[in-house]
Symmetry: D2
């Protein structure tokens, strides 16, 4: 792998592509709004005219896009990745999508002779910049091995999980825990607040013990300030809880805590909090 | 404060008293089974004949006992602390009890002219040995200030929370979060296991991200091994969840996630898991 | 049994005593506010000066009082039932109390040589007037047999359930179902309302099928009118759910649906709906 | 409307068609297995060769089929209803399907110039035989008015609910209540059983009061016998709860009791009880 394509210059994609340039690869970029590529061109990247043109000239093409629809468009659209992918080339979609979307893209790529990996990540803007993402990859094993050095530049850990779909499943399990843990945190703080404890002191006690974690530190401060700058939108968390519950339904696994937490997040959406950070669940629990 | 009493030489009390001896104070100890005091006597402590005799000769007496009944017996029993406490002396009960027991002891001590603090701790054996407990104190403020240097030897943080009862309330809020968080953790792992993900990899992903915490690391290993050496018994966690819910009921605060988690812990007790570690909730969630 | 005492001339007690007079017994009454006895005196009852004086002259004394405190006062107070009860006399407390209160009264009566039954009822004002209550009796079997004819005048069914405490337990189980069923009803109506169905039509469909029951008919109308005249106060229902859950906790029986419904009723109390009818849970579910 | 078609001679469809014959209409029938039509032919019905042939000769065609797939096949398949439906003819699908299937069929019928009603029913075998079903119709209003006399023979109540989809929504709301109510019933019985009450007596108390309903009578007996002859399969109830929750999710209506009950039904499915009657939820609650 000498020449790498990167599609999607958003909050996540741009710093990820930067890290690849810094790693010494020849990088070709594409973004729906070309002006977002400027900084990368200054660092030595070149720009392709379309996802298809990009895929046709690169050994491996990475993508980091907003949602399943964007992924489908970039892949199946006119001048999409499929138009350029060919025998032996690789496509690595690092966006967060559902397993069904992922499988659909993977099958189309394979049908053209290409190789596919889904590779959603854990971590947001800062880990993307610092190259400390956690990468949950699934799909073509030879491609995973081949892109190892690139993953090593973008993340601090890259796991190979098996068939396409396993990456999305891993992400749902992790987000389920994140949603439930946030509701748990808020219920404890809500009780503390109601009995008149100082919430800053509750946070200190939590931070001094075995439950101490960066999320409680970061979101605890948001909650005390009742200010919820969006890092992960509440409506997306509720969607992930719904998908996790449906996955549980498919495989016959009851998840009663999660079911209740999902209803709390629905309640928050009902109250118009869907576009705030998911820690705004505090507003319905407090 | 020159002369310190310490009652209760259990898993927690013994290392705490050791740290006080190491701090240079003159320490007098008492334990129901005197042989447990041996190691402390070798380090220079002296032994009293009864809690009352101990309290009568010390400026401040600390206690670390198993449960509310032990605390009541040591305080109100024949030759109990009350028999020795007097004008200006201090009594600091660091055991975990309910607010009602705590208030009853505090009032009796005050009636004899003594000063009282409840001071439950967060942290178990290891932090006790290392002097890194978190101390949640409530009661007499002058006594809190006076015992500051002793708290500093036993813990890494000591909070003064207000009137007697606030310490117990803080502990319930913290344990509520711990119980709910454990159930959340287990539901995510259970779904992951059912869809065929490798649980060790799920733990790695969690540990690499914003939710990373010592409890997931420690208990995650227990869960994968399905071996639950008791650090905090499941039945005690269920009791704390019940008390937290009743506290919520008293102050009119609904806690729906906690209510469901409490039923899961009851289910575990119903299955005979009450004496295992609270992470054995895994057995009913998986 | 020729001479019957009746203590408590409230909404329930008065019509119950009336039915006993109509049954041909000699009835002696007592009420904290004597003026409430007037109507019964006109029908031929006599009035006693105190619960004790009443119990001393009657073969069996019935009571129908507001709450555990009233029951304890009438029994243990100065000139209370205990002062008059004696060898072989009977005391039948038909109030709704917890098992502990019931057992305490039963033991005191037995210690004086008397016989005791707890006998809470299912049904409110109208069944009391019409003599169609359901009587859940527990305690002294010979007394149960002896008062059979009196129960037959007051109710349409009288069950003997065993030791004192069983009557209260039966009532908690029945009220648990009632509370959960009301929440179930409201959730179905809430979804129907949100999708734009006509709630009157939903009620018609329910009433035409296997779930058809008087409670849905009566409370359905309240809910549609959003008018909740109090028949059974919401705060009492929440208290019964709490007691049922604690009973489940004691005997190791998890009840997860009930746990969630209890939190909904707490939510309603938090919103200030505690003194309305328990069907006002609609206000938090809708 | 003189000539009526009826497709589907199952447990429900056969007695419904019988009632139409008894009502004096000329009835044409069709069933995938023609031998099931025998009894109806003896009563004077005629048999068509295909759904399409049937629809082509009848003013209105009714269908009562097992599930959405059967409905789609009968409508869209070769020689299906669509092949015969034409200008002004009516099609009334009384099967229970989801709103999306219903709308798809309705649109196809309308595109051929036909008129469509969805008309799921409440009630099972016995009400079908006795002509006492409850019919929840939605779609073409003129068709609803026209088939009124036929509905009157098959049911005791027929509601017109509006656009296609409303019938299915009504059914989901009703089944949500039924599922939740069954779980409520079982939790009360489970607690009663655990504390040693006689369940037959609990049923008697319930049946004597405001909650008295045919479902508790019928299913209460099943539960006591722990014998669950299938009237409505548990897995179908769980599916309806899932659909009701997803409907709530779509319209932003949290339903926390239902969410928990759905998990109980999933638990029952996990235990292999899916093909038993839905009252077998008892096995996981008890």
């Amino acid at each position: 792998m000498r020449k790498i394509g990167f599609i999607g210059m958003g909050i996540m994609g741009k710093p990820m592509a930067m890290n690849l340039i810094a790693g010494g690869w020849e990088v070709v970029v594409w973004n729906r709004h070309p002006e977002k590529c400027k900084e990368l061109l200054q660092k030595g990247a070149r720009m392709a005219e379309s996802p298809g043109a990009l895929a046709a000239q690169c050994d491996v093409t990475f993508a980091m896009l907003a949602d399943p629809n964007a992924c489908l468009e970039v892949c199946f659209g006119a001048e999409g990745v499929l138009a350029g992918i060919g025998e032996g080339r690789g496509y690595v979609d690092m966006s967060t999508v559902d397993p069904h979307t992922s499988r659909r893209i993977g099958e189309a790529v394979a049908a053209r002779g290409g190789r596919f990996l889904e590779a959603p990540v854990s971590g947001s803007r800062k880990p993307a910049e610092e190259g400390t993402l956690i990468i949950m990859a699934a799909g073509d094993r030879s491609l995973f091995d081949e892109v190892g050095p690139a993953f090593a530049k973008m993340g601090k850990m890259a796991l190979y999980l098996g068939d396409v779909g396993k990456g999305a499943q891993m992400k749902l399990c992790v987000n389920l825990i994140m949603g439930d843990m946030m509701a748990s945190f808020c219920e404890g703080l809500a009780l503390a607040s109601r009995v008149g404890l100082n919430l800053q002191e509750v946070l200190s006690v939590l931070d001094g013990g075995a439950m101490s974690n960066p999320m409680f530190r970061l979101k605890g401060a948001s909650i005390l300030a009742e200010n919820f700058p969006v890092a992960f939108p509440l409506k997306h968390m509720q969607k992930d809880l719904r998908l996790a519950l449906l996955l549980g339904d498919e495989v016959g696994k009851p998840l009663v805590t999660t079911a209740v937490v999902n209803e709390l997040f629905k309640k928050a959406r009902e109250k118009g909090l869907g576009d705030l950070d998911f820690s705004a669940i505090w507003q319905v629990v407090k």
